[in-house]
Amino acid sequence: MTALADMTDTGKLATYNFAYLDEQTKRMIRRAILKGIAIPGYQVPFASREMPMPYGWGTGGVQVTAAIIGPDDVLKVIDQGADDTTNAVSIRAFFAKTAGVETTTATAEASIIQTRHRIPEMPLTEGQVLVYQVPIPEPLRFLEPRETETRKMHALEEYGLMHVKLYEDIARNGHIATTYAYPVKVEGRYVMDPSPTPKFDNPKMHRSEALQLFGAGREKRIYAIPPHTEVVSLDFEDHPFEVQHFDQPCALCGGEQVYLDEVVLDDRGGRMFVCSDTDHCENRCAAGHRGELAGDDLFDGKDKGVETEAST
């Protein structure tokens, strides 16, 4: 009863520790992060807390970000590559409220980027931290559901089963049919799940200048790739790893060698392909690049779109 009195009388729930988590919890998470950095690709168990957002919606990434963020940090949050998808908006608002930090949508300006399912197109640089939200951290999970067994397989470096899966893909389809969450080997030792990013993004992890941290809240695991670490996608010598290729450039900015989202324009098969990384696309447009559908009218429509959506 007193708790409610506290909440209502003093507005206690309206005030939080900096970045929501208490300092003890942050220390615990930082220790897990440090251990993860020391053993690249190894999944460190940590005492994940309940967060005021559902498990599976980025609680791992949020806890990692909360543990490392400081008042001088500039935070960017993306979901599917975009800064303004609802969950990205929600998480960014969470930190703006609980940590009061500056937020940005510009990749280059951010010191911490929390992401779900994408790595920004622009190469990250020294000093930046990329925080991944991870649903299932265990790359062997769908081959072996038992945690006790998968931990043993990692410890003994028994990864034959992983290639059995790739073998089956090729035997059945003629090529490896894994398109996202494509397993990688980190620094020649641990096989790691890169979170459900498309395999298009895997090469960006290799020897990245940025620190890459992975948080899985529900599964209570943290792992890391320190800067300049070797990250190799699993493959066969005669069926080498390759990324997706798109037949056309971005319809808005004309960008090539970028990951594109397919947008359905009508119910008669009309499609357009546009950058999944919205910041990258906007930068290119601002620099004067134009794709085939990027008339000025489209950019007018963009603002209207906001209002239309907001009024629903």
Binding site: K152, E157, V164, Y167, A171, R172, E237, D238
Partner: protein, 274 residues
Amino acid sequence: MSTAELMETVQPGVDDQAEAALLKVEGLTRVYGDRIGCADVSFSVWPGEVLAIVGESGSGKTTLLNCISSRLTPTCGTVHYRSGDGVSSDIFKMSEANRRRLMRTDWGFVHQNPIDGLRMTVSAGANVGERLMAVGDRHYGNIRQTAIEWLGRVEIDADRIDDQPRAFSGGMRQRLQIARNLVTGPRLVFMDEPTGGLDVSVQARLLDLLRGLVSDLGLAVIVVTHDLAVARLLSDRMIVMKQGRVIEAGLTDRLLDDPRAPYTQLLVSSILQV
């Protein structure tokens, strides 16, 4: 008969004396509470030799097989394995990593029920290729070629390579399990009633195949069976077990022609009548 005496009779011919034993079992005992699984078992197996462990069900032969293949920890006793580099070590003092590596490279294990030894939901090719990939083979074409060759050696048509073992008959599954074990060229294979669940005609064909493979590859095999016919066809030497203890051991021909222990005489007479 004491263990020392048994060891005497188990020694193979003079020619092989010079070579060190591949597997050396000493004083192996496994108890379950008050009940004895197997007690004070000692023997050695030399490279290229087939040893049959025979006895009726409940005689402790499967417990013994599980202990010497490190699948079960014995209550006391040691099992030394001499690896390819000539170093002999106690398998229960090895790290788990080394032991598991041994099990997927130097050793094979053929289960009575192929379901226990196969991945039923991946293709025959992947079943055969798994051990190759586990030891670092990373060339799909080569793995597949090797798998096709091995399917041929166990008389499975190459066009079944992408089928799952679920679609195979019992005899085919057992042959697939054998191929899966032999693909990495193991030095020692454990077999637990390999013909157990099969029809008589299928058994005969499988035994024939096994005998050919064992002699072609120069494999050392320890085969557990209740069937003296299997022991006669496959093995060079035999151990007869009763109530967890070894009661007679010796060359298979000698033992079947001239069984000494009354229990062995009973076993032999019963099988010869069939």
